[in-house]
């Protein structure tokens, strides 16, 4: 079953076309990697899908529902959650309140709400910092908090924008384990990532964006073998080193 269908999606910023006729779909329960060089339009694509920005042309269907024109909060309530490339936690709230707020907008109240906050804090290994002001968290913890907050919406689709960037090797291992856990729970994920180790580890399929166009879409091994992808993003040395 297809959960997300993107058809001929385009986006212009003034005279600059940053996305050109992007078409792809995501099957429910799948994990799809989205890679490409800086400026390829990956974050713009996520912003369009999440309702943070409006497309210039094309269509986005989420669970058979048109998303075009819906504000971001309505898109979120439909079950489409996201994280941000540069962490955006609610710095005036504690870690627990960040998660609690998202679960509350989903409609949870009372004991159910508190149980969900604890469950997500446990899942993201943040239980011991639940009362801590979120502005005092490390980058790795803020990234995990963003993920916990997104999961509090009980998403059908999770858009992860460079959730691993800036993490040290041990933090990275834990983050990969966490994504694998989510994958096992059946959450559909679109994962933007520069770290190919992560993409190769968790993705069923990989999309490659280059200068606003989709240049490859297929299984990870097939995509990294593509000469066009090597030329545009990976470089030939990546394949030789594998």
């Amino acid at each position: 079953m297809t959960i997300l269908q993107v058809e001929n999606l385009s986006k212009d910023f003034g005279g600059l076309r940053v996305l050109e006729n992007i078409t792809f779909s995501l099957a429910a329960g799948s994990v799809v990697g989205l890679i490409g060089p800086n400026g390829a339009g990956k974050s713009t694509l996520v912003n369009l899908i999440a309702g943070a920005d409006r497309p210039t042309g094309g269509e986005i269907l989420f669970a058979s529902r048109r998303l075009a024109g819906l504000p971001a909060w309505r898109v979120a309530r439909l079950g489409l959650a996201r994280t941000f490339q540069i962490t955006r936690v609610f710095t005036d709230l504690s870690l627990g309140d960040n998660i609690r707020l998202a679960a509350w907008t989903r409609g949870l109240r009372g004991k159910g709400l508190e149980a969900e906050v604890r469950r997500l804090a446990d899942l993201t290994e943040l239980s011991d910092k639940i009362a801590k002001p979120s502005r005092d968290l490390t980058l790795a913890d803020q990234k995990r908090l963003q993920l916990a907050r997104a999961l509090a919406l009980k998403p059908k689709l999770l858009l992860l924008d460079e959730v691993m960037a800036g993490l040290n090797p041990s933090e990275l291992d834990r983050a990969i384990q966490l994504l694998a856990k989510l994958r096992n729970e059946g959450i559909t994920m679109l994962v933007i990532e520069h770290l190919m180790r992560v993409i190769m580890n968790i993705s069923d399929r990989v999309l490659v964006l280059h200068q606003g166009s989709l240049i490859a879409d297929g299984p990870p091994a097939e995509v990294v073998a593509s000469s066009q992808v090597q030329e545009a993003y990976l470089g030939r040395r990546y394949v030789q080193n594998r």
Binding site: W73, A76, D92, L93, P133
Partner: protein
């Protein structure tokens, strides 16, 4: 900590309640003004301090409350309490409706729009004969200074209570989330337009309530007095001094500015403006989070932002 705050609040309220028994009429008059500004600042705090949208036009709601109540009472011969209730409700609804477009603006643009809102409201009210036009409205002399002191005190307490309930609710967390990062707030499913407009309406509601009581207290009101931009500046400065986004901040700020103004006026009539200017400089340089904000920094949990409010573009 909670118990300590409660004890301080009860003691402060007791002192305020007993004040007229221990002092003279002049002090009661000053205390009435302080309570009035504490309520106005608390109303401003809802939109400026908690939500992070620094309004420069809240005086419009104070002025509208005063002028509408006066007009309903004088022109339509309504009992003043009824005129006051209708004026407050109308102003609250107007605040909500105006908030829908204005709160789409951010940072400086929002502040300029609210400044324009107050000036436009002044111009409209001045040219509406129903509202008394430029010549103002005279109201019957009723009540005593003591009665108005207790009414203003009650409104200040109500404002603090409303702020407390908001700050300790998920709605308050919603507003703080908007202040932190509006895009991220939308991404977790928060209808930010509705949340902000509701905060603006509550702010208008409290400002208008104070205006209604001010009008009958003074018994004469005219547009230049009740739409004086300096009133908004006082709300803002008092909130900043006390601690934006806190419950007691606006009250502490009103107390400090009120007492300092009286001391300065004992020296010279113009010295109060000088004191206000110095207070703004001191707060911006040394206490950007205000007295309560600085006191609570580093203790964890919910607290005001690094800066009391941000000028987000």
């Amino acid at each position: 900590m909670k118990n300590k705050s409660l004890i301080i609040a009860v003691l402060a309220l007791l002192c305020a309640f007993l004040l007229p028994l221990l002092t003279n009429d002049y002090i009661v008059q000053v205390a009435t003004e302080i309570a009035m500004y504490a309520a106005l600042a608390a109303g401003w705090n809802l939109i400026g301090g908690i939500t992070g949208y620094p309004s420069f036009g809240n005086v419009a709601f104070f002025g509208l409350g005063a002028m509408l109540a006066g007009a309903f009472s004088v022109n339509w011969h309504w009992p003043y309490w009824l005129a006051g209730i209708v004026a407050v409700l109308l102003t609250g609804v107007l605040g909500f409706i105006l908030g829908l477009p204005i709160l789409r603006l951010k940072g400086h643009y929002f502040s300029i729009a609210t400044l324009a809102l107050a000036e436009a409201t002044l111009a409209i009210v001045t040219n509406l004969q129903f509202l008394g036009g430029g010549k103002g409205t005279s109201l019957p002399l009723i009540g005593s200074p003591l009665l108005f002191y207790y009414i203003m005190l009650a409104i200040a307490c109500l404002s603090a209570l409303i702020t407390y309930l908001i700050v300790h609710s998920q709605y308050g967390n919603t507003l703080l989330a908007i202040k932190s990062d509006e895009s991220a707030a939308q991404a977790v499913g928060i209808n930010t337009v509705l949340a902000k407009s509701t905060a603006f309406a509550l702010s208008a509601f409290l400002g208008s309530m104070v205006g209604v009581v001010y009008a009958i207290w003074q018994s004469y009101i005219d547009p230049p007095t009740v739409f004086e931009p300096g009133i908004t500046v006082l709300m803002l400065v008092m909130t900043m001094i006390g601690g934006a986004g806190t419950v007691a901040g606006p009250i502490i700020g009103a107390l400090i500015i009120g007492i300092m103004t009286q001391l300065a006026m004992a020296v010279s009539q113009n010295a109060s403006s000088l004191i206000l200017g110095l207070a703004i400089i001191v707060v911006v340089l040394f206490l950007p989070q205000g007295i309560l904000g600085s006191h609570r920094s580093g203790k964890g949990g919910k607290r005001p932002g690094k800066h009391s409010f941000s000028w987000r573009g």
